[in-house]
C-alpha cells in the first residue's frame, strides 16, 4: 500500500526478439493492479464488509450452541448459510481470500518501499532545483560575509537542528546547501506495515500450534483430572498439535469461593486447585482475570456452579452416591440437572439386573429457596437456604441405546415412549440431610453440595509474536502520523561584492507548521 498511487502501468517494454509473452504481461499487470493503492483500499473495505456477517450470525468458534439453536429456528436458511461458511466466517475461504490478497498487496508494496527507503536513508539530500522561487515556499535576501562562510553557517545551523545536510558547489561557482528531515515518517510507516505481517504470522502460529479444551471440574480428589483429551468435555487442537503432545499436569479443585453483593450480583470468584504432575506439586489460587499459568498451558476460570450430592438406597438396601453437577440458568444460580442411578435394584443374590427398575431424578437446585412459593427460582446465588426440587423417574433410562445424550437431563425419548415413568406429578423438595421415601420403599437422601468450576485450558504460542507485533505497530503508527518529511535548499551566490542567499522549501507531507519553520530557517543563523 503505497502512500502515493503508482502511476498507470507503462506499456510493457518489448522483449528482445518480439512481443512480450502475453502470460508474463498478464501476471505483471495483475501484480501491478494488486499492489496499487486503489486495490488495497477496495480490499480493506471488503475486509470490513466481510467481517459483518460474523457479528450477526452465531459463530461455531464462539458459541456452538447458538449455531445449533439457529439451525432449529431456521431449518431452511441455516443449511444454505452453512454452505457459504456463514457460521465459520473467520475461517472461511472467502474471508481468507480477502485478507491474503490484502496482505499480498501489502507485501508487494512495502518490499519495494523498504528498498527505496534504505536507498533514501543512505543517499544525500538531492541538489537544489534550478528555480528555487518556483517552490511552495521561497525567499531571497542579502547576507553579510563571504559566500563560503555564509554557506558553512547555514550548514552548521541545519546540522544543529538535526537536518541531514549537504553543501555542493555548482558549475557556475554558486554554493548550494540541501537539507532534508523527517525520514522517521517513512520509517514508522514501514514499521507499521511490516508489523501487520508479524501480527498475521503470530495469528497463524497460534492457530497451528495452539490448542484449547474445556472441562467442568467438581471439587474432590476423586474428581481430579489430568491433561489428556479423554478428560475434556470439548476441545480443539491446532493443525500441528497432536493429542499426545500436551504438557502433563493434573488438577484437583480443592476449594471455590464466590462472594456476592446483597443484590445477588457476583463480586468475586476464586478457585483453589492442587496442581500435580508438572514439576513441583503445589496449591494455587486463581480467579477471573487472573488465570493459572502453567508451563505450556494456561487455566482460565469461566464459571462455577453447584453439584448436589445424592444417595439412593434401593430395594435391596444397596446405596449409591452420585455427585451431579447442575447447570445454573440464571443470575441467582437456579440450577438444572439430573442424577441417574442406572445400576440400582440389582438383585444381590442372582446378580440379575432389571433394566426397567433403573432410577433417575431430574429437577432444579436452589441455593436459596425463597420464603414464598413458587419455589421455582433461587432468591440468592449463595447457599443461604439450599434445597433441591426433584421429580423421580423409574424405568429404562435408555443409556444402553448407544445414542449420546446429555448428562444434565434425562432422555426425553424414553419419557415420551413410556419406558421411563415419572412417579409423582409434583416435584419433591429436599433440604440438606433430608431423605425421601419413594412408593417402592427406596430412599433418596440429599447430602449437600460440592462446588464445581468450569475451566478453559488454553495454549497459544503465537501470543507473544502478536504482542510484539502490535507494540511495534503502534510505535510505527505514531511515528508515521507525527513525522513530517520536508526539504529546504539554499543557494549562495555573489553579485558584485554582496552575497545573496536564495532559499526554497518543500513540505513532502501535510505540515501546516512548515511555513513558520521555513521562515525561521530562511532568516538564517542569528
Amino acid at each position: 500500500m503505497t502512500t502515493v498511487e503508482s502511476p498507470p502501468a507503462p506499456p510493457a517494454p518489448p522483449t528482445p526478439g518480439g512481443r512480450a509473452n502475453p502470460l508474463v504481461a498478464l501476471v505483471r499487470n495483475s501484480w501491478r493492479q494488486l499492489t496499487s493503492m486503489r486495490t488495497a483500499l477496495v480490499l480493506l473495505f471488503l475486509l470490513a464488509v466481510a467481517a459483518v456477517p460474523g457479528s450477526v450470525l452465531p459463530q461455531r468458534n464462539v458459541a456452538v450452541e447458538k449455531v445449533t439453536a439457529y439451525f432449529t429456528a431456521h431449518p431452511d436458511l441455516a443449511p444454505v448459510l452453512d454452505r457459504l461458511w456463514g457460521f465459520d466466517v473467520y475461517s472461511s475461504p472467502w474471508f481468507a481470500a480477502i485478507y491474503l490478497l490484502l496482505f499480498g498487496s501489502l507485501v508487494g508494496c512495502i518490499v519495494p518501499r523498504l528498498r527505496d527507503h534504505t536507498r533514501a536513508l543512505r543517499a544525500r539530500p538531492p541538489d537544489a532545483p534550478h528555480r528555487l522561487d518556483r517552490l511552495p515556499f521561497s525567499s531571497s535576501g542579502e547576507r553579510a560575509g563571504a559566500p563560503a562562510e555564509v554557506a558553512a553557517a547555514l550548514h552548521r545551523m541545519l546540522r544543529g537542528r538535526r537536518w541531514r545536510v549537504v553543501t555542493r558547489t555548482a558549475p557556475d561557482g554558486a554554493l548550494t546547501v540541501s537539507a532534508e528531515k523527517g525520514y522517521l515518517k517513512e520509517t514508522g510507516n514501514l514499521i507499521f506495515h511490516y508489523s501487520l505481517v508479524v501480527v498475521l504470522i503470530g495469528v497463524a502460529v497460534g492457530s497451528w500450534w495452539g490448542w484449547h479444551a474445556n472441562r467442568l471440574l467438581v471439587a474432590g480428589p476423586e474428581k481430579a483430572f489430568c491433561n489428556s483429551l479423554q478428560q475434556y468435555d470439548e476441545y480443539g487442537l491446532g493443525a500441528r498439535v497432536s493429542g499426545a503432545g500436551l504438557p502433563p499436569f493434573c488438577l484437583e479443585l480443592t476449594g471455590f469461593e464466590a462472594t456476592y453483593q446483597e443484590t445477588g450480583q457476583p463480586a468475586s470468584y476464586t478457585a483453589t486447585v492442587a496442581v500435580t504432575g508438572s514439576g513441583a506439586d503445589r496449591s494455587s489460587s486463581f480467579a477471573v482475570n487472573h488465570p493459572l499459568r502453567l508451563s505450556g498451558a494456561n487455566v482460565y476460570l469461566l464459571g462455577h456452579g453447584y453439584a448436589p450430592v445424592l444417595r439412593y438406597t434401593d430395594r435391596y438396601g444397596q446405596s449409591q452416591t452420585t455427585v451431579a453437577p447442575f447447570l445454573s440458568k440464571d443470575a441467582m444460580m437456579t440450577s438444572e440437572g439430573a442424577a441417574a442411578f442406572p445400576d440400582t435394584n440389582v438383585d444381590p443374590k442372582t446378580g440379575a439386573r432389571d433394566p426397567n427398575l433403573q432410577v433417575a431424578f431430574e429437577g432444579v437446585y436452589l441455593p436459596t429457596v425463597p420464603d414464598q412459593p413458587p419455589l421455582t427460582a433461587s432468591a440468592f446465588p449463595a447457599e443461604r437456604s439450599p434445597g433441591i426440587m426433584l421429580w423421580a423417574y423409574r424405568g429404562n433410562l435408555g443409556l444402553d441405546s448407544g445414542v449420546p445424550g446429555s448428562v444434565y437431563r434425562l432422555d426425553g425419548r424414553q419419557i415420551a415412549n413410556g419406558q421411563l415413568k415419572r412417579l409423582e406429578p409434583t416435584p419433591h423438595l429436599l433440604r440438606v440431610g433430608e431423605s425421601w421415601t419413594l412408593d417402592d420403599g427406596t430412599t433418596l437422601e440429599f447430602l449437600g453440595t460440592r462446588p464445581y468450576a468450569t475451566l478453559s485450558i488454553r495454549w497459544d504460542p503465537g501470543e507473544k509474536i502478536v504482542l510484539v507485533g502490535t507494540a511495534a505497530l503502534l510505535a510505527g503508527l505514531m511515528l508515521s502520523l507525527a513525522g513530517r518529511r520536508r526539504r529546504v535548499w539554499f543557494r549562495v551566490t555573489t553579485s558584485g561584492s554582496t552575497t545573496i542567499v536564495e532559499s526554497g522549501g518543500l513540505a513532502r507531507s501535510d505540515h501546516p507548521g512548515f511555513a513558520a519553520e521555513f521562515a525561521l530557517l530562511a532568516r538564517g543563523p542569528e
Binding site: M1, T3, V4, E5, M37, R38, L41, L44, F45, L47, A48, A51, V52, G54, S55, V56, Q59, N61, V62, V89, Y90, D133, R134, L135, P136, F137, S138, S139, V203, H212, Q261, T263, Q265, P266, A267, S268, Y269, V288, N289, H290, P291, N298, Y300, L302, S456, R458, D460, E463, V466, L467, T470, A471, L473, L474, L477, M478, L481, D510, P512, A515
Partner: protein, 324 residues
C-alpha cells in the same frame, strides 16, 4: 452522590442546550466576517499558489453589505456566550462523571449510560481544546453542541442505569486502561465526525449546492480548514483506538483465555479500525478526492455507532455491559 450526579446531568444537558441556542443565534444573526477571514487565512496558509504571498487578512472586507455593525457585535457576543456556557456545561459534565464514580466507588465506565457520558465528555473536551487553538472554528460549536445534546439526551432517557458494582470480569486494572482509551478515541472520533460532516456540507456549498444540508455550509469555516481538522482529529484518535483495542486484547487474554475471539464488539472494533485505516490511506493518496476520503471517515463513525448501539442492544456477546 448518585442523586448529585443525576442532577448535574440535567445541568449539563441544559448548558449544552443553551450553548446550542447561543450558537444558533450567532449563526443566524451573525455576519460572515469571522468566517470569511478564516477562509482567507486558510487560503494563504495552505500555500495554494506556489509563490509566497503576503497574508491577506484584511478581514472587514468579508462583512457583507447590509449587515449592521451592531448586529455583528451582538452575534459575536452570542458566540462568546455560547463558548462560555459550553465550558460551564463541560464543568457540570465532569461533576456528573466524578460524582457518579464516587457513588459507585469505581471508574464511571461500568455500563452503556456511563460510557456515553464519558465519550461525550471527551468529545466536548476535545472540541474545547481545538477551539482554544483555532478560535475561527467557533461556528462549528452549533453542530458539536447539537450532537452532544442528542447523545446525552439519549443517554439520560434511554440508556440510564442505576449504579451497580462491577461484575468480576470487569474487575481488573485493564478496565481503566482499555475503557479510558476507548472513550478517548471515541470522543475524538465523534468531534472528527462533526468536522467531517461539516466539511462535506461546506464543500457542497462551495460547489454551488443550495438544497437543505448544504445551506448550513454558508457560515461554517472554510472547507480546507475543516478538512485539515478532520484529518488531524482522526490521526490523533486512530493510534489511541489501536492502543485501546490492543489493551482490550491483552485483558481478554487474561479474562477469557484468548486475545481475539470475534465477539461482536471485537468484530465491530476491528471493522471501525479497518475503515478508519482506509480513511487515513485514502487521504494520503493524492488521486483519491478529499471528499471521497471524508465519506470514508463518515462511514467510520457509522460503524462506531453500530458498535455502541447496535451491538450493545441487538447482538449478545462477552461485552454485555449495557446495563439495560
Amino acid at each position: 452522590m448518585a442523586a448529585l450526579s443525576d442532577q448535574f446531568l440535567v445541568v449539563t444537558l441544559l448548558s449544552y442546550l443553551v450553548a446550542m441556542i447561543c450558537h444558533a443565534a450567532e449563526y443566524s444573526f451573525g455576519a460572515r466576517g469571522v468566517i470569511a477571514k478564516a477562509a482567507v487565512r486558510e487560503l494563504a496558509g495552505a500555500g495554494g499558489p506556489p509563490v509566497s504571498v503576503e497574508v491577506g487578512a484584511d478581514g472587514p472586507a468579508g462583512v457583507p453589505a447590509g449587515t449592521a455593525p451592531g448586529r455583528v457585535d451582538r452575534a459575536r457576543l452570542a458566540g462568546r456566550a455560547a463558548v462560555a456556557v459550553t465550558i460551564l456545561g463541560a464543568a457540570a459534565h465532569l461533576v456528573t462523571l466524578v460524582s457518579r464514580g464516587i457513588a459507585a466507588d469505581r471508574m464511571p465506565w461500568g455500563n452503556m449510560y456511563e460510557f456515553v457520558l464519558t465519550v461525550t465528555f471527551v468529545g466536548v473536551a476535545a472540541w474545547l481544546a481545538v477551539l482554544a487553538r483555532r478560535t475561527h472554528l467557533r461556528h462549528l460549536g452549533l453542530f458539536v453542541t447539537l450532537v452532544m445534546v442528542v447523545l446525552l439526551g439519549v443517554a439520560g432517557m434511554v440508556l440510564y442505569a442505576p449504579i451497580a458494582p462491577l461484575v468480576p470480569a470487569l474487575n481488573s486494572y485493564w478496565f481503566a486502561v482499555h475503557i479510558s482509551m476507548m472513550c478517548l478515541a471515541s470522543g475524538t472520533f465523534l468531534v472528527g465526525f462533526v468536522a467531517a460532516a461539516m466539511y462535506l456540507i461546506r464543500a457542497g456549498y462551495d460547489k454551488g449546492r443550495r438544497s437543505f444540508p448544504y445551506t448550513l455550509g454558508a457560515r461554517v469555516p472554510g472547507a480546507e480548514a475543516l478538512e485539515r481538522l478532520t484529518f488531524r482529529l482522526h490521526a490523533f484518535a486512530f493510534p489511541i483506538w489501536t492502543f485501546g483495542v490492543a489493551a482490550g486484547a491483552i485483558w481478554a487474554e487474561a479474562a477469557w483465555g484468548r486475545y481475539w475471539g470475534w465477539d461482536p464488539k471485537e468484530t465491530w472494533a476491528f471493522i471501525s479500525w479497518v475503515v478508519y485505516a482506509g480513511y487515513l490511506h485514502a487521504r494520503a493518496t493524492p488521486s483519491v478526492k478529499r471528499s471521497t476520503a471524508t465519506w470514508i471517515a463518515i462511514l467510520g463513525w457509522a460503524t462506531m455507532l453500530m458498535n455502541l448501539v447496535g451491538v450493545n442492544l441487538f447482538l449478545s456477546g462477552f461485552h454485555s455491559y449495557s446495563g439495560l
